[in-house]
Symmetry: C2
Subunit: 302 residues, 2 copies
């Protein structure tokens, strides 16, 4: 593909209800609609088939998991092949009895699976009890070549880790996608809500700038209650930014919508020629990154 041909990207910001079949049906309809409107890459939000079940720890909820390939990827593969569209499909993956992952399947435009990423950074925060459900990924970081460009597959909590963005970009990814389920604790929203959302935006923009890539985050919307708790209000705000960190398109905080943007993948090389950050990395001095903490005093001296 000519790198200067605009590539239409679509981000499906949606609410996810208790009926997993209805969530899949809604996703299929919206992905198909986006493809008909010219999208070549479409991304769904993290764990879109169900409410964000990690608000509590309940072994019964492992029933929500499915294999990959499995029902969700099969259904979306048919759409991918029919419309020649690349689809990023988050799945609560059952890999084996006792091994479940928060995963992201990348389906190519021929309907085949181009790659699979399993969330590497798994959070555990009040109402985000993911360490109970998800075995940490062992795929490493994944830049996946597709008919519509080289796609970096990442998921939510990965957004806080510059290492994840870097390792994905260093494999050749031109666009990083972060399907996401992030929101406010309602009681914190008035005091800290704006700061929290801004920090989340900044991290994504910084990955774009540091690596000279496009970055997209795709979040869900809506308040999801929890038994005995205040629930979570997912803040939407799905967006895509260019390699300078400039936002090209952004969704509301509270409405289901599909965000479209035309991206020129030629910008990746153009921006990196003007801001040649990759040229000057001190790879001789970065060894300490693989350590938990440098209380031993390793300064990467060289």
């Amino acid at each position: 593909m000519n790198p200067h041909t605009p590539l239409k990207i679509a981000l499906i910001q949606m609410a996810c209800g208790a009926d997993t079949g209805a969530n899949l049906a809604a996703a299929l309809t919206r992905v198909e609609d986006a493809a008909r409107r010219g999208a070549r890459v479409v991304c769904l939000p993290e764990l879109f088939r169900s409410p964000y079940f990690c608000q509590r720890e309940d072994p019964a909820l492992f029933e929500l998991a499915e294999p990959v390939p499995g029902p969700s990827t099969d259904a979306l593969s048919r759409v991918a092949g029919r419309h020649n569209v690349v689809i990023l499909v988050p799945v609560f993956e059952r890999r084996a009895a006792g091994i479940y992952h928060n995963s992201l399947a990348v389906l190519d435009g021929d309907g085949k699976m181009a790659g699979l990423y399993r969330k590497m950074h798994v959070p555990d925060d009040p109402a985000y009890y993911e360490k109970f459900y998800f075995t940490p990924g062992d795929t490493g970081f994944q830049a996946i070549q597709t008919r519509a460009g080289n796609i970096g597959a990442l998921i939510c909590w990965d957004q806080w880790y510059p290492e994840a963005a870097r390792l994905t970009a260093l494999q050749g990814a031109e666009m990083l996608f972060y399907p996401t389920a992030i929101g406010w604790h309602p009681s914190e929203k008035s005091r800290d809500g704006a700061t929290q959302r801004r920090a989340w935006q900044i991290m994504h923009h910084s990955h774009a700038i540091a690596n000279g890539v496009f970055v997209a985050a795709v979040n869900r919307v809506g308040h999801e209650p929890s038994a005995g708790g205040e629930g979570l209000e997912f803040w939407g705000s799905s967006f895509i930014c260019d390699p300078f960190g400039e936002v090209l398109a952004e969704a509301s905080v509270d409405k289901e919508e599909t965000v479209f943007a035309d991206v020129d993948l030629g910008r990746v090389e153009e921006v990196r020629r003007h801001w040649p950050f990759l040229r000057d990395r001190r790879v001789d001095a970065y060894g300490g990154i693989t350590r938990r903490f440098l209380d031993g005093g390793d300064r990467g001296a060289c």
Copy 2:
């Protein structure tokens, strides 16, 4: 020190003229004034003793270099000891014949040198011909314990590298300081100026968020001409932000001024307890960071 005692930080945003003696005299006056007003840590801008000479490549300009310790650090050490103030002193360092560095000396409150950092990431861009002058640093990244907290010493171009911030924070730095000389090519300012400055701010804010530390950038101001060129307009905007990336104080784009902020170093632990990013780093999968590019396909699988 009680971590909840506010610590006053001062950032000296200044213009740097052709008279190196006058630049030092101005710096001494302003650092002393900041100390009298209660500052416990004061930071000067990158290469403050001279105009930004890297706009051209001229062997005669190595005459601007001086040893460390040397005239600049000696003069500022006296101020540090007299006022019990930590001072960050950028120096064009002559280390040996043919080995010059873009360095940052950290002087402790007793006037002694607490540590020395030599710029690890050295740029080379039109009008920023630093690779001609500066040998890449071999100090590694430096978190320097002082009477006023653990200080991360970094310089300008390092700001674009999440690895630098991370490796400094992992040594225990509570505050990252980036003395800087960054500005606009006047002919680009109207089209790209806002985007460039915003990208620079975002990177700093992201280091604060990703690492749960305070971050300060200290820039010069003013237009500095170049023979045969349009010169550079340094954009000031010196600022300090908290571990959520929220700006506490920020200077103008064009005026000499001293920016003060009271920081509570206890916020570092408090923020990291709420946003426990350091806990979940996948150190088992970060080995590829020490590679130039992962065209060999290393995905950090584990």
